[in-house]
Structure formats: C-alpha cells, structure tokens
C-alpha cells in the first residue's frame, strides 16, 4: 500500500498498537532542557526506575539561562536551581549534559542538528513544542509534556494516537526579500492558529526543495503555530550533505546502513493525504504579525484586516488589537518600534545573522531602538565572529549577546517592558510572551533589521534596493 513519508517513519517506530487506544511509539532521540525535565526525574525517583537508554537522551540548558556574563554564577536563585537540577539529574542517570559554559551548550533545537543528533527518519521528542524544527530532516519530531518526558526516560516510548496527514505544497519561487520565515507566517495566516490541529504536515514543492537546511528548520519550527503536531520535509541531497560527518551522525558501516534507510524516505507518488493545500510562492511578500497569535499575520504592505474578514469571534479579535494598541484598517508600515530581537530556535542560526547583517551593514541602529542579538549556539556565535558579521554589528551600534532562548519567552532577564513594541524573529506573539505587557510583531531577520535601523516597521526591500 502506498505510504506517505510520515507513514513510513511513524509505522516503522510502532512497538505495539493498542485496540481503541494510542500507538506505543519508540523514540530514537530525546532532548531535554532545564524547565520541563525536573518533575519527570522526580517521577522516576519516586517510582524507583532507571533511564532505559541514557545514550539516546541529550541535555542542554537554554530556556532559563542569562545571555550576558555566562561565566558568572546565575543570580536568579530559582533559575540556578533548575540548571543545577538538570546537571545533577543528567549525571545521576548517565545522560550527556551540555550545561551553561559547555562548548556545546545552546538552544536545544539549534544544537541538536548542529551535532548530528538529528537524523532523517528518526523519531525525536523534547519537552518543548518547537521540537517540530527537526522535521526539516525528514524526522518525526514533536513537543511533549513532562509526563511524556518521564515516559521516554523510563521506557524510550510514548503513547499517542497517529495524527492525520496534511501536505502543504508551495509552488514557484520566492520573491526578493522573502525568506523561509515569511513562508511560514504566510501559511499560518492562511490556515489560522488551529488550522492544522490533529495533523502532521509534510511540506513539499519547489520552494522547499530549493531551501537550505536552516530555512527548512525555520519553516518546520513554526508548524506548531498552526496547531500541527509537527511538520517534515523529505530528505534529499541537501539534507544528506548537512548531516554527513557531524559528530553524532552514524559513521562507517553504520552510515552506509543509515543512508540506505534515508533513501527510502519519501512519499509514494499515489499516497493519499487527509488534507492538502497548494499556494503560489511567488505571491508571498515579507510578512509581519499585528495581533496576539501567529496566525494574525499579513504582508508588510497590507493594512490590518477588519474583524468581519477574519476567522473567529469579533470580541476575541478586538481584545487582541486592543492589547496591541492597534486599530482595524491601520497600516503596519511606519508603526514605531522600541525593541528588536533576533534569535531563538526559529531564527537564531548563522543564515539569519547574515541576513540581518546584509541590511544593517553601513547603517546605524536607530536611537529609539534597543536591540538584542542572541545566537542560537556557540557554533553560531563563532561563525558570526569568523565571518566578520560582528564587526558589521559593532560598527552599526549593535551588541552581540551569548546563546540561549532569551527574549523569545523571557524566562531570564531579557524581558520587553510593558507596552513596548518589539519586532522579533522568534515564534510567538502571545500576550506577555516576551515580558508582562510586551507587544510582539513577529517577522523575518530582514524585517527585524529594517526596523532596527529605521526605528519603525519598514519594508526591507526598500533598503535592499538602495544597496543594489
């Protein structure tokens, strides 16, 4: 019977099917961090059980870490306790631990791929909804709750019903100044924040075939923002070239065996999806959000829609615009910006910083803007320095911080103050997400850079054209 890519990977990991219940799904790789794991370890202790396959779990601290002066002790006692708990739990159970200060420390969804923990056709989970990032490699990757973290530690399995299957095709080619982030925000704006709930998505079509691995990671990362459990892209030469030779990638005979598995990972021609969408990539423009969920996005040149023209209730929509301090019909271009944040598991990789640099080069940071530039890992941080991007940033008045999740969820000190507007390359514009009362406009690194140098929402293509 014909199968989709998703079917092949899922079915290949089902240990047992339960009548009238979920599948028991084997997990190849498990990533943990300091925030969603401590209670799972407490559960193990109270039950008196060990970690079944410690070599399949990797720990990194990211959500709750400072992004300045990482060599100093963490001041916030609660944060310090979580970091300590991750370290002692990892040590006690024999799990690789990449804590603060470790060379491999960084955002879990950035370091996983960088070190080859992420492999095509693997099942990967983490107590973090943006685990969908790893789907870029043709893996089934999704976020889980802490009870499930405990299950994976104890048995390397979780119990879930098989989701339905959706394919999203983007045909054509992307326009000038249009990035993978814009593709994702465009899709979410079309499907809404719950449009893919219950589904696992496969992204297909020329736009994704031409995309780099980092671009694919950005797109898959945001799958959860339309409700999808995850999203994946069939592995191809681009994928194989990326994973080959990385530290935790299979080597020698194991690589040959893995490679023959990877080559089976594509949707059969006549396989059927439960739902399918097709969009023309050439119609996508740089995107920006204006509301309090990632589905509330528009092309940057457009006006904020009227309540009557969007899906959902009027009162929820008005509550959202009221929080943002925006009105129906407002133009986004020219809205004042107080903060710019580039970073996160969505856009904290080297290509994102290259894009940011391409616009700020030779310009100056706007005086009214506070900018936080946060690399996703030490590898990204080192590349920023080696490629000369740091010089460009410094020249333009920007400061580079140290790796971590930072202002994406503002668990550490990187909080946008109440009432302030932040153009952010991260993934969520929920009320208070970047700090109590903060107002977030999600956008690409190019749009963020344009805002950083002009102090207001600006179409990056204008600045790119000047340079060309």
């Amino acid at each position: 019977m014909s199968k989709t890519l998703f079917d092949k990977v899922w079915d290949g990991h089902v240990v047992r099917k339960i009548e009238g219940g979920p599948d028991v799904l084997f997990i190849d790789r498990h990533l943990i961090h300091e925030v969603t794991s401590p209670v799972a370890f407490l559960g193990l202790k109270s039950r008196g059980i060990k970690v079944l396959y410690p070599e399949r779990t990797f720990a990194t601290a990211d959500h709750n870490t400072p992004t300045m002066n990482q060599h100093l002790p963490v001041e916030d006692q609660l944060s310090a306790n979580q970091l300590k708990a991750l370290e002692s739990n990892s040590n006690e159970y024999g799990i690789s631990h990449w804590g603060l200060g470790h060379q491999k420390n960084g955002i879990v969804h950035v370091v996983g791929p960088e070190y080859g923990i992420t492999q095509p056709g693997a099942t990967i989970v983490c107590g973090d909804s943006h685990t969908s990032t790893h789907g870029a490699f043709g893996a089934i990757a999704f976020g889980i709750g802490t009870s499930e973290v405990e299950m994976v530690l104890a048995t390397q399995c979780i119990m879930q019903p098989k989701p339905q299957k959706m394919r999203i095709n983007i045909t054509g080619s992307l326009g000038y100044g249009v990035t993978p982030k814009d593709v994702a925000l465009f899709i979410i704006s079309q499907l809404t924040t719950s449009g893919a709930t219950g589904y696992f998505v496969e992204y297909a079509g020329k736009v994704f075939e031409e995309m780099t691995m980092e671009g694919r990671m950005t797109v898959c990362n945001l799958s959860i923002e339309m409700g999808a459990r995850g999203g994946m892209i069939a592995p191809d030469e681009t994928t194989i070239n990326y994973v080959k030779g990385r530290e935790f990638s299979p080597k020698g005979e194991a690589w040959d065996k893995a490679l023959s598995y990877y080559k089976t990972l594509k949707t059969d021609d006549d396989a059927v999806f439960d739902k399918e969408y097709t969009f023309d990539g050439s119609l996508i423009e740089p995107m920006i959000t204006y509301g309090t969920n990632p589905g509330m996005g528009i092309g940057i040149s457009k006006d904020i829609p009227d309540a009557g023209s969007v899906e959902g209730g009027v009162s929820t929509y008005e509550k959202s615009l009221n929080y943002m301090g925006f009105n129906q019909g407002d133009q986004m271009i020219g809205k004042p910006v107080d903060y710019v944040f580039i970073g996160s598991c969505t856009n904290g990789r080297i290509e994102d910083f290259r894009a940011f640099a391409s616009i700020v080069k030779g310009r100056k940071k706007a005086d009214n803007v506070t900018a936080w530039l946060v690399p996703g890992s030490h590898i990204v941080e080192a590349a920023i320095k080696e490629e000369g991007l740091l010089d460009i940033f410094t020249e333009a008045g920007f400061v580079l911080r140290q790796p971590g999740c930072s202002a994406c969820l503002a668990m550490n000190d990187d909080k946008i103050p109440a009432g302030k507007y932040a153009v952010s390359t991260s993934n969520r514009n929920f009320e208070g997400r970047q700090g109590p009362g903060s107002r977030t406009l999600l956008a690409s690194p190019l749009v963020a850079a344009a805002a950083a140098v002009t102090g207001k929402v600006t179409d990056p293509r204008e600045l790119m054209m000047v340079e060309a």
Binding site: N81, S147, E150, T193, T197, N293, G313, L409
Partner: protein
C-alpha cells in the same frame, strides 16, 4: 504522578469565553522555574488575574466569587502554543477537573489526559448554550459522566456525547498512567529497539 480517579463530575462552571487561550496565558513562562510540581494553581492565568502590583483584576472571572466550580469553560482552540505541562498542572492544582471547549490544541489535550484533567470537546452550538446558561445563572450545574461519555447541561437537560479513547478512559477512571502500562512491556520495547536502523 498519581491523580484522583474520575467517574462522574457534577459541578457549576467558570466561564472564559475567549478563543485561542494559549498556555502562556494559562501560566506565563516566568512561573515555570520550580523543580517540583507544587503551587502552580496560584499563578493560573496570572497576568489576566492580577495587576503588576499583585492586586486582583476585578473584571477577571477567577476573581468573581459568583462563578466557581470544578469545570472550566473555554472558547475554541483552548490550550494552544507551548507544550508546558505546567498549564495542565495549574488547572488541576487550582481545583478544576475538567475543561470544556469546542476545540482543543493537541499537546494540551494530551497533557490533561496524562495528569487527570478531562478535556471535553463539544459542538460550538452546545458550548454557546452552556455559556449563555451559566452567564444567566451561575448556579447552573453541568454533569460530566466519563463512563457514559456524556455531558449534560442540567438546567435544560441538553446533552451531548464526547470522544475519548477507551484506553485513556480506563486510565482516568482508575487513576492509572501510561508509565504503568509501558513498564509492563519493557522487554517487547527492548527487542524492538534492537532492530531499528538508528
């Protein structure tokens, strides 16, 4: 972690007729710093419930003594966003045992089922009727019968059935969790792992 068995829940309800309630609203990230599962109910809906100086916001439903009960009524797409199980913990810890909505986000639904909060998905029209009745008379009671998989608005007698897998239903009625099950098939899991390509 063990939780109380769920059989029949008859209770008044707390109405929150807002769509797309995300888990950052249910519990903001800055309250996720604990290393134990205690006290999360105090910060349930923290920023909707309290001003920055810690004083309660009078217009938020949890601060309105008229509405109480073990059932939380939420708008469409309840629990979207972050996978933080802390959101479900906060709801349980506050005293809710069921959340009723016309649509739930996936991860949140799974987390609830794993910790003993029953997500009850009903039709948009029925949800609307329940909101109306509860707003009209906050003493209105709702009965959720897990065994029969039904939810009844007792003031009008209107009733709907809801879906739950028989496996999860058994777990909730007995207070079991998935680890109890998985621990019993460990050797099967180990045999399976030995033949995997990765």
């Amino acid at each position: 972690m063990a939780y109380d068995k769920f059989e029949i829940l008859k209770s008044t309800a707390v109405p929150l007729p807002i769509e797309n309630v995300d888990t950052d609203q249910i519990i903001p990230a800055r309250f996720l710093k604990a290393t134990e599962r205690v006290g999360f109910g105090d910060n349930l809906f923290r920023d909707w419930r309290y001003n920055t100086d810690g004083s309660p916001k009078a217009d938020f439903v949890l601060n309105n003594p008229t509405y109480k009960g073990k059932i939380l009524l939420g708008g469409k797409n309840f629990g979207s966003g972050s996978s933080r199980e802390h959101a479900a913990w906060a709801i349980y810890d506050y005293g809710f045992r069921a959340v009723v909505s016309s649509f739930f986000a996936d991860i949140f639904r799974g987390n609830c089922l794993n910790i003993g909060v029953l997500p009850v998905q009903i039709s948009p029209a029925f949800l609307e009727n329940i909101f109306t009745e509860v707003h009209k008379n906050p003493e209105t009671e709702i009965e959720i019968n897990l065994s029969a998989q039904t939810i009844t608005l007792l003031s009008t007698g209107e009733k709907e059935s809801f879906d739950i897998s028989s496996y999860k239903k058994d777990n909730m009625m007995n207070g079991f969790d998935d680890i109890d099950y998985l621990q019993n098939i460990k050797s099967e899991i180990q045999e399976f792992a030995a033949q995997l390509p990765l």
